[in-house]
Symmetry: C2
Subunit: 188 residues, 2 copies
């Protein structure tokens, strides 16, 4: 597939903070591709919600001439694992001492509470100090409900989070951690 040259320019643009998350996103996409290949889980990144304000019709189909990025109200990844609903958000912070809560929108916090209530598996994957942690949704909500701080201290993440290890394939084997946390009682 051919793209216009300016795509490359876009990716290199240092203005957007989102690009800081690209590595983690790629690592998780690779891991999810692998999990699907070996038929272990069906987990996808949801497309970024986009508002389309202008389209045109070309010989190759409908094309977007103007659009904008919307604020997400759910989490980035969801799917099906071992018969269970699973949903999570992945975030990178350059901050060394804490994870700023501004990374998670208020709607997303409400959504995490809803998923817990409806008995889904929900968590955050946080990359901080080049380490990757899974923080359970209920630990995250409990922290928020009991603290006025605008960030989660790294100490809290180290104590309550579960470290996810890098490997060859999958790049980030987070489902092994999910097994330990959520499927402990069942036979593996």
């Amino acid at each position: 597939m051919k793209y216009p040259n300016n795509l490359t320019k876009t990716y290199k643009n240092p203005l957007t903070y989102k690009n800081r998350g690209m590595d983690l996103e790629n690592e998780l996409n690779e891991s999810n591709d692998y999990y699907r290949e070996i038929d272990k889980a069906l987990i996808y990144k949801k497309p970024t919600p986009i508002g389309v304000t202008d389209v045109s019709y070309t010989s190759r189909g409908k094309v977007i001439d103007r659009g904008f990025f919307k604020e997400p109200s759910t989490l980035d990844y969801n799917g099906l694992y071992r018969g269970k609903y699973i949903e999570y958000e992945a975030k990178v912070t350059k901050n060394r001492t804490s994870f700023p809560l501004a990374n998670i929108h208020p709607h997303q916090i409400q959504h995490i509470e809803s998923v817990l209530k409806h008995k889904g598996i929900v968590f955050l994957i946080i990359k901080i100090n080049e380490m990757v942690y899974l923080l359970k949704g209920n630990d995250f909500i409990e922290y928020i409900n009991n603290n006025d701080r605008k960030s989660i201290p790294y100490e809290f993440i180290k104590e309550f989070g579960y470290m996810i290890k890098y490997s060859y394939r999958p790049t980030l084997d987070y489902l092994t951690v999910v097994d330990e946390i959520y499927f402990k009682e069942e036979a593996m």
Copy 2:
């Protein structure tokens, strides 16, 4: 929110077959909003996957200057209901005697098989002859595997599908049908 005038023009454009499905899509979105309001289920339409080829940065944030619609490999709606993973596709046909299989992409058919294998609830919602039917994923797959036709006869949909009734709120109460089919054995 203000849109440029040509948005209206776009919606009225009769060239795109997709617009035929807009009514059903709105009916399902309204129903899912209602189910969330009464805290019955967390089901969302996934954003249409879009490839962004050109963006610019304005004072109001990142804006898309060029993009295209990608072919979906999963189904349109997914979420969580009564602790279970649920996923479905909604399609309208103007055809009175059968549902053309060209409406469902080959990747989506594979995906339906995968969801069944991983024990998710998966189905199609088909609007045909102004009636709305839920067709279970396994009945759909069985039809495809045992027939060479490029469409599913209306007779098959009437026999194996479950009719979904219109009501005030939710507009389309498809979860009542899901209860009957998938949660029969459990206490309601």
